[in-house]
């Protein structure tokens, strides 16, 4: 197991290198530069050239790549052009809201999707199952930004139950922190729940048709016990795969939801940085997300072994 983990971690290095260099080159290939954005629309060419020089953006691309790569090898992701802080500081500062949002969204998604998916499988072809499938279809079809705007209209503007936008750090109190996260987390969880619930239902249906379930029932076990002890655990493995990939998808969804709800998370940071062409931050965030993605996948693979004793590394 330790050897397997070490091997997977070692494989991270080439992945991150390829991601890093590709992102660097792609970013510098798209037009636009931070100097023009900082200086505003009425800036003259002379001003822009002055600032480009001061920021080192007038150097040949190859030189910029070598300098960036050299810093990267020394563990330095660089300094944001706009934020006046290092990229690591910027990511750290924006990590809290994103972790809170995705954590809450994933918890909401799991808490609603798995029980309802298993229940729909058990009540296959019933009215509950049909209603479940409709809701799931809506969940995977409705874009999170649209869900978010509607949630704002109903629960923030009409009912005044939650703030329209903004983030309150947990240091200011758990209740205001949760209130600032509920609507964005629901908007984000809706799609996730749809995906997970659908997979949980399909996997459970498949398991419920297995011989060992029939055997369990013939032994006289109650349906609850059959579902909980025999069906659920076996149905969890394919569901876990979806949960793993969905965590990474959550980070993507967070980009949109954080923008709509003005949460100062990683998604908001990357959107702002792209619109300002803040190259070091974009490169750093993409590397960070790639790292999270690979680590989550590794964690999912390790959980397989924990859940299914037949899987050994």
């Amino acid at each position: 197991m330790a050897g397997y983990i070490a091997g997977r971690l070692a494989a991270l290095v080439p992945v991150l290198l390829v991601v890093g260099v590709t992102v660097f080159l792609l970013l510098h290939l798209i037009p636009g530069d931070p100097a023009s954005v900082i200086l505003g629309p009425d800036a003259s060419e002379t001003q822009i050239i002055q600032l480009q020089h001061a920021l080192g953006l007038d150097r040949p691309l190859f030189v910029q790549l070598v300098l960036w790569f050299d810093r990267l090898l020394h563990g330095d992701l660089g300094t944001s052009i706009f934020l006046r802080q290092t990229v690591v500081q910027a990511i750290w500062q924006h990590l809290g809201p994103t972790a809170s949002l995705t954590g809450l969204a994933e918890a909401l998604a799991l808490a609603t999707a798995i029980p309802s998916g298993v229940l729909a499988a058990w009540k296959r072809n019933s009215r509950f199952d049909q209603a479940f499938m409709l809701v799931v279809l809506l969940g995977v079809s409705i874009p999170s930004f649209w869900a978010g705007l509607n949630l704002i209209a109903v629960f923030a503007v009409a009912a005044r139950l939650f703030p329209v936008a903004g983030y309150v750090a947990p240091s200011h109190g758990v209740e205001p922190w949760l209130r600032s996260l509920v609507l964005p987390a629901v908007a984000l969880a809706f799609t996730q729940a749809g995906l997970i619930a659908r997979m949980a239902r399909d996997a459970t249906i498949e398991v419920l048709d297995e011989d060992y379930i029939r055997t369990a029932r013939s032994k006289g076990l109650g349906e609850g016990l059959v579902l909980a002890k025999h069906a659920f655990r076996n149905a969890l493995i394919p569901t876990l795969t979806v949960i793993g990939t969905s965590l990474a998808t959550l980070l993507g969804g967070a980009v949109v939801v954080e923008t709509v709800f003005v949460l100062p998370g990683i998604g908001n940071l990357v959107v702002q940085s792209i619109s300002r062409r803040d190259y070091p931050v974009i490169e750093g965030v993409v590397l960070f997300v790639a790292l999270v993605y690979v680590l989550v996948n590794l964690l999912v693979d390790l959980l397989y072994a924990a859940i299914d004793p037949r899987i050994r590394y």
């Binding site: 900082i38 600032l51 706009f82 936008a165 709509v260 003005v262 940071l269």
Partner: protein, 522 residues
């Protein structure tokens, strides 16, 4: 018989009740100190160093913190701010400016002539207006502890106007900050304004706090100068990019004011009695900028042809929407700007003439070269206007290749002469013809005109007090603008700011929002 203790309790209760009643009877609209003003902005600034950036997002935060020697009043005329007064020598080559006494920076140190000179010299290097102004300045020198002198190489009457220009303003900061920042945007935000920069959490908020030591002028000049009272303890600016969320936030009272809402939300806003609408008349005008350095539009006849092909009413309807938010006006300046406003050129502006456009194209020998029209989807009006402009140009025979970019890409591409022929943009108010950005030869479009240079030179020699001569010159400048067409003006458009009238009081409309003399109640 009541006990003394009971009597004291009753007396206290009566006093408290009276105090409560008096508070309840306080005249409505009475300014009150305290509270936090919450502002939902549409964009986060790249920097708060006002000398470094022309961006609106920078200016509307920075002018609470920084001040210049002069600034605009409510009528868009320049009045002293940090300056007490100035004198002009008889030969008009020396300006002597006296600073107001006892002005201090927010770090507690007094403002000295050395600070003023260092700040002005930095402005002269950083800003377009500053560089233009410093072409006429021989030296800026200290006279005594409260006085400086500006010696000119030749008469330049817009000097004071340019020192009060709010675009990349000539604000005064400590010399030490100037020296440590050089020409890079400064991170040390120390000014003399009514609010102090407190913190900036990127993507979340910019917080300003009241400057308790602020020394205000006493005049009721409005605008950016005169009496300024910082009633609120704090001003918090929140960058909220989605306009629907800005509107929702101001509707619920989470924000006190929402900036730059799309004009088509006007009907939603009007329906809410808690919301007050501020239609900002002096806001911006839209125009199509021609590439005059390379390509077909180096020929002014083709620029005129494009102008005759355009129908501003269609373009403005598509771009902005409700008629309350736009106006067809030929002026380079806004009617509200008094002496600068001219209607010269109105016989050409808004006179679509397709036959004349085709004739001019034929005369210029246009033979179907591709016209690259750039617009941005980051601003809905811009992209909408391009959707109408392209077919209008095609209707007279221009071969238009319409290209849509995000704003940073457009900003970058427009600096390259071989990548475009026309781009659409908005022009925020200028305060002097010499400060009109597209009259400069280095700004994208690369306008070079000996005739315009001559008129601007005459303008720069004409005393500000000679309104007759200035009017004649302004008309000539605008006639030449419509002859040479460096930019085809489409129309004026107005901003839509919305505020919660239950919470925010004393707010007055201006070309960008300000929150001194404004208070909140909750």
């Amino acid at each position: 018989m009541r006990s003394p203790l009971m009597a004291r309790v009753l007396a206290a209760a009566v006093v408290l009740s009276l105090a409560w009643a008096v508070q309840g009877l306080a005249a409505p609209g009475e300014p009150q100190a305290g509270g936090v003003i919450h502002v939902a902005t549409n964009a986060e600034p790249g920097t708060l160093d006002w000398q470094s950036s022309t961006a609106t997002a920078t200016r509307l935060v920075a002018w609470h913190v920084f001040e210049g020697l002069f600034a605009l009043d409510r009528n868009y005329e320049v009045k002293p701010l940090l300056a007490e007064r100035y004198w002009l020598s008889p030969d008009e080559l020396r300006y002597t400016i006296r600073l107001r006494p006892r002005i201090k920076f927010q770090n507690g140190k007094p403002v000295t002539p050395e600070d003023v000179i260092a700040s002005l010299e930095r402005w002269g290097k950083l800003s377009s207006g500053g560089r233009e102004t410093f072409k006429f300045i021989k030296q800026v020198k200290k006279v005594d502890e409260v006085t400086i002198e500006i010696d000119l190489v030749r008469v330049f009457t817009p000097l004071i106007t340019n020192l009060g220009d709010p675009k990349q303003a000539a604000v005064i900061m400590p010399r030490s900050v100037v020296e440590s920042s050089g020409l890079q945007p400064s991170g040390e935000l120390i000014g003399t304004g009514p609010y102090i920069f407190k913190r900036w959490t990127p993507g979340q908020e910019i917080v300003l706090a009241r400057n308790p030591a602020y020394a205000s002028r006493s005049e009721d000049w409005g605008g950016l100068t005169g009496r300024k009272v910082a009633y609120a303890d704090e001003i918090d600016f929140f960058p909220v990019t989605d306009p629907q969320v800005r509107l929702a936030g101001v509707s619920t009272g989470q924000y006190d004011l929402a900036l730059e809402l799309p004009q088509d939300l006007y009907t939603n806003v009007k329906a809410n009695s808690h919301l007050a609408v501020d239609i900002v008349g002096v806001f911006s005008w839209t125009g199509a900028v021609f590439n005059k350095a390379r390509g077909p539009f180096t020929d002014e006849r083709l620029r005129q042809a494009a102008l005759y092909a355009m129908k501003p009413v269609d373009l403005m309807t598509a771009a902005i929407g409700p008629q309350e938010f736009w106006r067809l006006s030929p002026g380079l300046f806004f009617p509200e700007q008094g002496g600068l406003y001219s209607t010269a050129g109105s016989e050409i502006y808004n006179h679509q003439n397709l036959a004349k456009a085709r004739a001019l194209m034929k005369e210029a020998g246009y033979h179907g070269q591709t016209i690259v029209l750039m617009s941005t989807k980051d601003s809905s009006w811009n992209n909408n206007a391009a959707q109408v402009l392209a077919p209008e140009l095609q209707a007279v025979g221009f071969n238009v290749d319409s290209q849509v970019y995000d704003w940073p890409t457009l900003l970058s591409r427009r600096t390259k002469q071989d990548l475009w022929d026309i781009f659409l943009t908005g022009f925020s108010p200028s305060i002097d013809p010499t400060a009109v950005i597209f009259f400069g030869s280095t700004w994208p479009g690369w306008y070079q005109s000996a005739a315009m240079d001559e008129l601007l030179s005459q303008w720069a020699k004409t005393p500000v007090t000679d309104s007759g001569a200035r009017k004649t010159l302004m008309d000539k400048i605008q006639v030449l603008f419509y002859k040479e067409v460096p930019v085809a003006k489409i129309g004026d458009y107005f901003g839509l700011e919305v505020y919660n009238n239950q919470h925010l009081h004393g707010y007055t409309s201006y070309f960008d929002v300000r929150f001194w003399n404004t208070w909140v109640t909750r």
